[in-house]
């Protein structure tokens, strides 16, 4: 079965799917920008500036977009699987990566905030690595959501 994105679905599913996908796309873009800024500092002099950039990106773009993605996910889930008890594998992958990724994102933002305020490069690097792990999990989720294994 080729997935939900390629199929013609009931009209009432389109808006929640759009919100879910758009939120996820903004989330992936924002976290990518933050990870690159935290982990790929060329000049030491740029450190403070990039730590601030990364923290603000995570706080003001990534966190809100995570909530938009999650709200869209719940909405489309209630329409598509509202009455069923057994979820397919790809839904399980989506839920796990959403929740664990959200927790990692929160930890990453806290680390980035402290690193930005106190100019701690080690903590900034830790924030970048944690956010990169969340990003990798979400790439797996994108694959699962579209290819729908199981």
């Amino acid at each position: 079965m080729t997935g939900l994105l390629a199929s013609v679905r009931p009209d009432s599913w389109n808006l929640p799917l759009f919100i879910h996908v758009l939120g996820a796309m903004v989330l992936v873009g924002a976290v990518t920008a933050a990870v690159v800024a935290q982990l790929w500092t060329v000049a030491v002099a740029d450190g403070d500036r990039l730590r601030r950039f990364s923290f603000r990106t995570l706080l003001f773009v990534a966190i809100p977009s995570w909530f938009v993605m999650a709200a869209g996910a719940e909405w489309i889930y209630s329409k598509e699987f509202g009455e069923t008890e057994d979820d397919p594998t790809w839904i399980g992958i989506g839920f796990i990566t959403r929740e664990v990724g959200g927790l990692l994102l929160l930890i990453s933002v806290i680390c980035a905030g402290i690193a930005s305020r106190k100019s701690k490069s080690g903590l900034a690097r830790a924030s970048g690595i944690i956010a990169a792990i969340a990003l990798a999990a979400w790439v797996v989720a994108i694959w699962a959501m579209s290819a729908k294994p199981g």
């Binding site: 994105l5 992936v28 920008a33 060329v42 950039f53 990106t57 773009v61 579209s146």
Partner: protein, 158 residues
């Protein structure tokens, strides 16, 4: 999982790369809005390089795998209205995005060169990082990509 499922997955991953890159560029534009500091612009060049790679991969991937799916899947035809609309939106968005990127790229290179030479401000940078032609191209390109996403999800006429 069938072969078409893998192609759809690559198509969607490409779309995430494309829109993700647009988001990266928007974050940079907002962050650098109104600046004339060469150092501030130069420090974000690595981020913009990653955005450039993502937008290239995303642009090519969406169209190649998208056309592949339109040909491969029985439910759709390449000449369906929403598929033609998507191809036109994609072509205009990519071209406008390329033009916007040229403007920002030139200002970024200039900022990097001046920052290395010890010059702290630049009128070219100040001109570019506000409502410049590059900004207008980027804005229209982003709106078209949003319409493209709406077209992909709603599939009008399908």
């Amino acid at each position: 999982m069938g072969f078409d499922d893998w192609i759809l997955s690559l198509h969607v991953l490409s779309a995430f790369a494309l829109v993700g890159a647009e988001v990266i560029f928007w974050i940079m534009i907002v962050s650098l809005w109104g600046t004339d500091s060469t150092g501030r612009v130069a420090s974000l060049m690595r981020v913009s390089q990653v955005g450039t790679v993502l937008v290239s991969v995303g642009s090519v991937g969406t169209i190649v795998f998208g056309v592949w799916l339109a040909i491969s899947l029985d439910a759709y035809k390449l000449w369906d209205g929403w598929v033609i609309a998507a191809i036109i939106l994609w072509a205009i968005a990519v071209e406008l995005g390329r033009r916007g990127g040229q403007g920002y790229g030139a200002a970024g290179m200039e900022a990097q060169r001046l920052a290395q030479a010890g010059t702290e401000t630049s009128p070219v940078v100040a001109e570019t990082f506000r409502a410049s032609r590059a900004f207008q191209f980027h804005t229209v390109s982003s709106v078209l990509i949003l319409l493209l996403l709406i077209d992909m999800i709603w599939k009008p006429g399908a």
